[in-house]
């Protein structure tokens, strides 16, 4: 049975399976969780908090997520393409209504490429 990720703050609670999460992006002290359907949920805590949450709740299933630098956690199942020239990471899948194109630094993309090429 799939484990659920439960993220909550004082005014909302989100309960989702890991495969619904496309990525989590952070901009300082808040984070935006983006689901594969396009929905966005904002939480006012940083990515390290999300990282601990994912590891504690999903345990072995946490391994599908990859931390990419300070501002991004992605679901590795949906990595579609890495373009070092344009510094773009594209997440896509048949389940997606539309793909997500993320701007990532060249060095982080190189590291990501080497991590998934293993």
């Amino acid at each position: 049975m799939a484990k659920y990720l439960i993220v909550s703050n004082s005014y909302q609670l989100l309960r989702i399976t890991a495969d619904r999460v496309a990525y989590i992006a952070s901009d300082g002290s808040y984070s935006t969780l983006r689901l594969i359907g396009g929905e966005e949920h904002i939480f006012s805590f940083n990515l390290s908090v999300f990282e601990k949450l994912i590891e504690q709740q999903l345990q072995e299933e946490a391994g599908i997520f990859i931390r990419v630098g300070r501002s991004l956690i992605i679901n590795s199942c949906y990595i579609y393409s890495i373009n070092l020239t344009k510094q773009e990471l594209t997440l896509s899948d048949l389940k997606f209504p539309d793909k997500f194109v993320l701007q990532v630094s060249k060095e982080a993309l190189k590291s990501l490429k080497s991590v998934i090429e293993i």
Binding site: N9, S29, S48, V49, L58, G63
Partner: protein, 173 residues
Amino acid sequence: MKDEINENEVYFLGQDRPIPKNSFSKWKVVIGMIVIIALSIAGSLTWSFHKGGKAVPVLEGEILDTVSILPQGSKMPRFNGTDDMSAFMDWVCKHLVYPKGVETEKELVVVSFIIRTDGKLGGFNIRKAPRNKAFEEAVITLLEQSPEWEPAELPNGKKVNMKYTLPVLFRNE
């Protein structure tokens, strides 16, 4: 909680983090040393000791970010005298007014502000907002009416300003 990840670090969650290659380039070390020397020369750096006898640097007059590591025994700001940040979020949700004429639009406004030592909010800075200025004006107008806060405090009782970043998502449900 402070994020201590290297900007280009990449790893799978739930596994041991790999030791980053070339995490400190020669130029990062040089720049880091220049920053440390500049801070030392600039002055206004005071040292205080907490109970354990361990030196903790405190910058006088500095505005602290909510992701700063405060010394043990410090107090975070408290909304409306007795409540905490979750009560502030509730207050924002209850009192935020959708700008007229755009009630069906979904927009994000990110604002940073300072919880001042006098308990009032100030230093509003819009970090992200849609083109229609009505949304950011609605947020600022609301924050200007905030009830008073108890400001952040260092272990020695000294009140300090603290900066807070608030994302506000306008979403008509």
